[in-house]
Assembly symmetry: C2
């Protein structure tokens, strides 16, 4: 064990042991291929439970710091992250390590603070989730070919949640569990549109939806969303399209929402034209300033248009992205068509995950987590707004409502949003330009960024915004306001 010592302030003993060993490896005080003390000896000398040591070793192995040899114990691995790699190892191994490390690097950027679309990954109740999974992952009776529509108890639990929390009008037979909401969107498109069909889509809007429409050669008609005021529906009646795609409760990424009058107007339009409505309700669980609007789908049922409305939801924002479970609620007469498409596209969705999720919802953990996260995200949203006000001296305006996992800001004049992305990147901060969400470009006279705070630690937000403000104000061109605001 040597001079290994644990600092367990603010962390579990397992994490403390992980950190201590990681430090030894990174600093190369423990050499590549060196054998670690046995778990028994480590446990005795550090007065830890053996399970704690085993868990820490296994986590280190999972992250590539250690590897185990059967019957021989654990060894410092050659596959340590590339940023710490010296010239050791064969070039082949180094190429693999580089590749692995590039992937890890990309993954890190995907999940950095201020990257939109990522929830608070550190605050998910993993041990509760583990125990739900553990309860089901040894059930041979469900391990075979399951229900293409999704595991029934999950659809049942979900239908109750959607009815009570999102006013969705549905029963379990209208719900289809999908391998991520992206799959639900694909199925929606294939079930309602053909090659060359026209679909109205918010502009700016969700790029992942645009990818599906491009893949299947649908004709995307951009429907302008203005800052703060949202979609201008006066032009709606001029549009002849087979479908409309909407994020009505928290427009992505502009952060506006449709009021009831606007929703009714869309429903009337869909009824008259016999058009489809695809409602993407991706993060409505997190609405801070007022009660969330009931879903458009729920209103459609009251208005007799429910047979034209498809509702799509995700667990990526409420739980975590890597779960890859989404769902769709479809009119009863569209269920079998959607199931045929799901069957052909990709087949069933992982069953043990569905079973664990069913219990996670039915036993109340889902709602409990949502309540906790709603508070936390509101704090983050408030903190972000406050920091922007403090550090940007009025130069950035927040245009999105206080909801969801992101804040959208706007400014006139230099630097451009692309310059700002680059400046932030140099400081290790990932932010998204609004242009990322646009089908058409070059129409705006203002700049805009989308800042995701879901996975930002609340105590880091102010410091990072300060850094962004320094970039912004310090850039050669920065700080010169132009007329027009």
């Amino acid at each position: 064990v040597g001079d290994l010592s644990l600092n367990s302030t603010n962390k579990t003993l397992q994490q403390a042991l992980f950190d201590a060993i990681q430090e030894k490896i990174i600093s190369q005080k423990w050499q590549i291929q060196q054998k670690l003390p046995s778990t028994r000896r480590m446990a005795e000398e550090l007065k830890l439970s053996r399970n704690t040591v085993i868990s820490a070793y296994e986590q280190l192995a999972a992250e590539g710091y250690l590897h185990s040899k059967k019957g021989a114990g654990f060894f410092v691995s050659v596959s340590i992250p590339e940023e710490f790699l010296t010239t050791r190892g064969t070039s082949g191994q180094r190429a693999i390590d580089n590749n692995r490390s590039n992937c890890q690097q990309q993954d890190k950027e995907h999940n950095r603070p201020f990257t939109p679309g990522i929830p608070d990954l550190g605050n998910f109740p993993y041990s509760k989730w583990q125990s739900m999974l553990h309860r089901h992952t040894n059930r041979a009776t469900i391990s075979g070919v399951g229900d293409i529509q999704g595991y029934y108890p999950l659809r049942d639990a979900l239908s109750q949640y959607l009815q009570s929390s999102r006013s969705v009008s549905c029963n379990a037979n209208q719900i289809i569990i999908t391998s991520g909401a992206q799959q639900a969107l694909s199925i929606s498109v294939l079930a309602t549109l053909k090659q060359g069909s026209r679909i109205l889509m918010e502009e700016p809007g969700y790029p992942q939806m645009r990818k599906i429409l491009n893949l299947f050669n649908c004709d995307t008609l951009p429907f302008q969303v203005e800052p703060t005021t949202g979609i201008d529906l006066t032009s709606l009646s001029r549009h002849q399209s087979e479908a409309i795609y909407l994020t009505p409760s928290n427009q992505y990424p502009m952060g506006t929402s449709l009021n009831t009058e606007q929703r009714l107007q869309i429903l009337r339009w869909a009824k008259e034209r016999q058009s489809w409505i695809i409602e993407d309700d991706y993060d409505s669980e997190f609405q801070f300033s007022h009660r969330p609007y009931a879903s458009l789908q729920g209103l459609s049922a009251q208005s007799g248009v429910s047979d034209r409305c498809i509702y799509v939801g995700s667990f990526s924002k409420t739980l975590f992205n890597g779960l890859r479970v989404g769902y769709m609620v479809v009119p009863e007469n569209l269920v079998s068509k959607c199931l045929d498409i799901k069957d052909a596209l990709a087949g069933r969705t992982a069953v043990h995950t569905q079973a664990a999720l069913a219990d996670f919802i039915a036993e109340g953990h889902f709602l409990r987590h949502l309540r906790k996260m709603r508070k936390l995200y509101q704090q983050k949203s408030d903190c972000l707004a406050h920091s922007i006000k403090t550090h940007f001296a009025g130069k950035w305006t927040i245009i999105s409502q206080s909801a969801g996992l992101h804040t959208t800001v706007k400014w006139y004049g230099a630097p451009t949003e692309e310059q700002m992305v680059e400046l932030a990147h140099q400081q290790g901060i990932t932010v998204r330009p609004l242009s990322y969400y646009e089908h058409l470009s070059g129409r705006r006279e203002w700049n805009s960024l989308v800042l995701g705070y879901g996975n930002a630690k609340i105590e880091e937000i102010d410091e990072r915004i300060k850094t962004l403000a320094q970039c912004f104000l310090g850039s050669e061109l920065g700080g010169h306001e132009v007329n027009g605001e």
Copy 2:
């Protein structure tokens, strides 16, 4: 606890307790909403460990026999399976229960003995798998948005397995992890074909592939597979198609395989026509009578045609169907196109499952399981062949090779294969008619069934085949051979 008594012959104490409580509920000796003894009291009175009791209660809850109320304990649930429901409960609840039960009933039929495509679900090392999952499912660092191509350590482990066991020519950068092999087939089709493109497909062949081709309006050209002799390639040169879909190592469902000369002929054809080869290597791990042929993809690399070959594989047969992880190996210049399609279609694949699977392979559990199952499936295959010989008095001929998870049989004259399916169904046995796999119908003068033995218990096989033989020989029309054999 009352008169609860355990019969633990041939089962674990947990299973014995499960069965005893289940019996009480089904026979309605324990009434709906009745509170169960606490886990502590149950453990004391039956002299079981408390963990055993908790596990049994949780399993009963998971299967819908019990439900737990926080702080109050476990209660007999109203949602008991429909076949045991009397008039109790509201009609709404009964409708839900009916539905749930129908789903469970369907699931059971999907996974019955002799249903093709299901591996031995009882012999999977679930506790090992649980521990691999447990190791990863609390890792916040990988829970966000991961690599669209798949978790790198899994691709790395898989590339080593595929190179050494299936002679696939690949590195981790050519592997794409998919949400089931079905998704890999969808991506293959979308990456290589357009609406109206022609593709050669084995006839009879895999119906799930045909569904994809229909969904995307491709033109399927059936390519006849004959019993025992397989595909007749003399007509190949006449075909002008953009792609060919093949199960070369164990043709599904005819159970023939292409020899090296035939494989080279297909490669030459693909090279000349610049056609794509989609190789579906769905169960080659289980080849009993000889060493499995190297993959067609591997041979294509040696022949300089590897840029035309897509290799698709699955864990559904080697582990279990409900896992929903598949993979594809694609030419390097096709990787980014396939990733764009995967991104649009459904996005990433569940990350914790991938991480657990990476360890399962890298630590040797995968190969160990394959070795064990190869032996077991060979025994089942032999047993099935022996039983058919014993009970069918020469009237059924086995036409498939001794490999994989199914045996295909052929006979002339009555009863028809559809009659045989119905007769078997009445005896609670699920078998598939060969017509299920055919694009064109009415061309055959003989009957054929596909019998999956993967999930049949070896000790049940003889009895079930005997039952099938009784159906066959006892059917009014049965037993009358016609000329032509």
